[in-house]
């Protein structure tokens, strides 16, 4: 493996690892605050138990997310120093904002986790709300940085140098809106689908557990709207990509030739003009094909496969959300059949996998560029040699952490199912 490939691979697995923990850190606080508010409103102690259980999970995921995020902030320089040298003055602004959002999140999470008896009840809920909001805000700012890498704005290139920089313009990159929405919804989807699956599994073992029924209901209250909104946001994302990164779109759809009335291929089916219509709201619009760029610059095949995985799983989740919503509206209660529970369990990993696949689409799809059209990844990578060593070290550390967190999660869940009626 070449040095650049080691750098890319290390960055890739570091992000793939962190994104899971960051997502849970964004979505879980929302769930735990909802449970706590329900406890305060109804006085039902089971909601309190739920809030505390979810807070415990949040504590573990947030901590691992915080330290793996620290690794990333250094890895930007450790692996791609030239990128940071060029981009630092432009993306330093969103990173600074993210720093403060993260600070707020850490402070108020400390108060939430350890302040149950130290602050007033509604103050405690307020602290939880601040955690949920600042977590989402952190994601907004970090995602803006990625949006800028894909559609860089706020500067001019003169003799190979970045000049006339304007950090506010950089933050207003045309990719900001769709990347922010798509990422945030993905975080809520991934977390609540996985969490819901855990509670569905517990329900399958003990159908009458009101604890897990309530947990699943709260979780679904988030899953349903975000899963239904995600395809719409995805469509808008596609239209932005069509304008700003036509070669990524061509790679996603496997379009070789530039053509008007470009067809959309779904399995054996080919609908003429549909791709043109989806991309530009006009069936006669010209969509650019991969022939426009040299073969070595074309996106890797994994971009297209990942895109298909993401869209497939996203569609399944949306269908599941729609069905569940329909049943809930008609019968005024959640479905509870064995098949539905099994489906909920089966869809547990779908959100996480779709999110990772979407990440591959964005990032591998941006190659060979680090800053799209401005700085090539090969030129951004560090001159440091023997990168296999840090690659191996972090791979080992993350592998161990992943296994351990999995074990912790299993034990935490088992604590809620084994003795069916314990106190908490």
């Amino acid at each position: 493996m070449s040095e650049v490939l080691y750098a890319r691979a290390q960055m890739a697995y570091s992000l793939a690892f962190h994104i899971i923990f960051a997502s849970v850190g964004i979505a879980m606080p929302l769930l735990m605050v909802i449970a706590e508010v329900l406890w305060l409103r109804t006085g039902d102690a089971e909601y309190l138990k739920l809030a505390k259980r979810w807070a415990k999970g949040t504590a573990v995921f947030f901590a691992v997310g915080a330290v793996s995020g620290t690794v990333l902030s250094f890895e930007l320089g450790l692996l791609f120093p030239a990128f940071m040298e060029h981009a630092g003055p432009l993306v330093g602004l969103p990173f600074s904002l993210e720093g403060f959002a993260f600070f707020t999140e850490a402070i108020f999470l400390g108060i939430y986790l350890y302040g149950w008896d130290k602050v007033g009840r509604w103050v405690h809920v307020g602290a939880g709300l601040v955690v949920a909001a600042s977590g989402a805000l952190s994601a907004v700012f970090v995602t803006i940085v990625n949006a800028w890498m894909n559609a860089p704005t706020g500067f001019r290139v003169e003799d190979g140098k970045i000049v006339d920089i304007d950090p506010l313009r950089a933050m207003a990159t045309p990719f900001a809106l769709h990347e922010i929405l798509h990422t945030l919804l993905a975080a809520y989807m991934a977390t609540t689908l996985a969490g819901g699956a855990i509670h569905a599994w517990a329900l399958l073992r003990a159908r009458t557990s009101s604890f897990h029924r309530r947990a699943l209901a709260i979780s679904l209250a988030v899953t349903i709207p975000v899963s239904l909104a995600q395809p719409l946001v995805g469509h808008y994302a596609g239209q932005q990509i069509a304008v700003h990164q036509p070669m990524k779109l061509a790679a996603l759809e496997g379009l070789e030739q530039t053509q008007p009335r470009a067809p959309l291929t779904v399995g054996p089916l080919e609908v003429p003009g549909l791709l043109s219509f989806m991309a530009f709201n006009d069936p006669d619009a010209v969509v650019k094909g991969l022939e426009e760029i040299p073969v070595q610059d074309r996106p890797h095949w994994i971009v297209r496969s990942s895109f298909q995985v993401m869209v497939g799983l996203g569609s399944l989740a949306a269908g599941y959300a729609l069905f569940t919503l329909a049943v809930a509206v008609r019968r005024r209660r959640l479905p509870e059949g064995r098949l539905w529970l099994l489906t909920s369990i089966a869809l547990g990993p779908a959100g996480v996998i779709a999110m990772e696949a979407g990440w591959v689409v964005t990032e591998v799809g941006r190659q060979p560029w680090t800053i799209y059209g401005v700085l090539r990844t090969a030129d951004a990578a560090t001159p440091v040699k023997d990168l296999w060593l840090p690659f191996a070290i972090f791979a080992a550390v993350y592998a161990v952490l992943g296994v351990v967190v999995g074990g912790v999660l299993v034990r935490q869940v088992r604590g809620t199912t084994d003795p069916p009626a314990e106190g908490g």
Binding site: F62, T70, P81, G88, G110, T382, V404, V408
Partner: protein
Amino acid sequence: MLPELFAGVILAALVLYALLGGADFGGGVWDLLARGPRAADQRRVIERAIAPVWEANHVWLILAVVMLFTAFPPAFSAIAIDLHVPLVLMLVGIVLRGSAFVFRQYGDGGRASTERWGRVFAIASTVTPVVIGVTVGAITTGARRASGVPPSTLDLSWLGGFELLVGLFTLALFAFLAAAYLTVEAQTPELRDDFRARAIGASLSAGALAGAAALAAGPATTRFADRLTGSWWSLPLAGLTTAVALGALALLFTRRFGLARVVAGSQVVLVLLGWGAAQYPVLVAPDLTIASAAAPAATLEVVWPVLIAGSVLLFPSLYWMLRVFKAGQR
């Protein structure tokens, strides 16, 4: 002027990281060294002191890094290239320390698992400050950078005698801070005396290591050593730092722990200010200065208001957190 302000912000973030995050690492050191009939109680005090605040304390480091790559991008990339290996080691330490701490607390894994993660937490807490100090030492000398050899992760030229001494000094300083703070957090007179003895021991070690590092600085980096010893402020600052260090010792001896905590913190502030003053105007030796590495004014001008607005939110929240968890003890 603006670049100087940003350099000041980075130094301030590092000072706060040492005062708050440093003490959390120091707590882990005393977890590792917990001995005697009260070892379990010592560990409990340490855990309770760290648990609610360590994640917030840790963010100061992230803030320092973000400010560095925002305001001085070439300095960040130079450090990231030349000190790749110590930074990787530091990050591994940070990851293991934090993860092990929560696994110990929330792992629900029974005694064996709790003990195992406690051990990982303690060892990582002890090794990481050394690596942080070594990194600071290497930034100060710039030996790796000046060598001009293409860096490899297998080469060890970032590790010299001076760097190692700064590393050990950092460890002693963090351990001292933690022990001084823990004298206030401990709830029984016996435990308070345990941490009092540890604070005194760490303070004396830190003093000896500071002396050794100062002696080693001369051969390792003439520029830094000359500014440290030959500036108009050298004598007053050295005198003040020594007086404060002795004051902290005296307060510990006479068991005035509340005041000792404050004076111990001031001692660490003075040490870092001295380092910053001797380093000025260099960011990364030998060639990257505040002026030569500064980002364009357009960047500094928009980020500056963010820092002010952020601080207006941050400091009251931090104050509240510390009041909730650190007041009412003693």
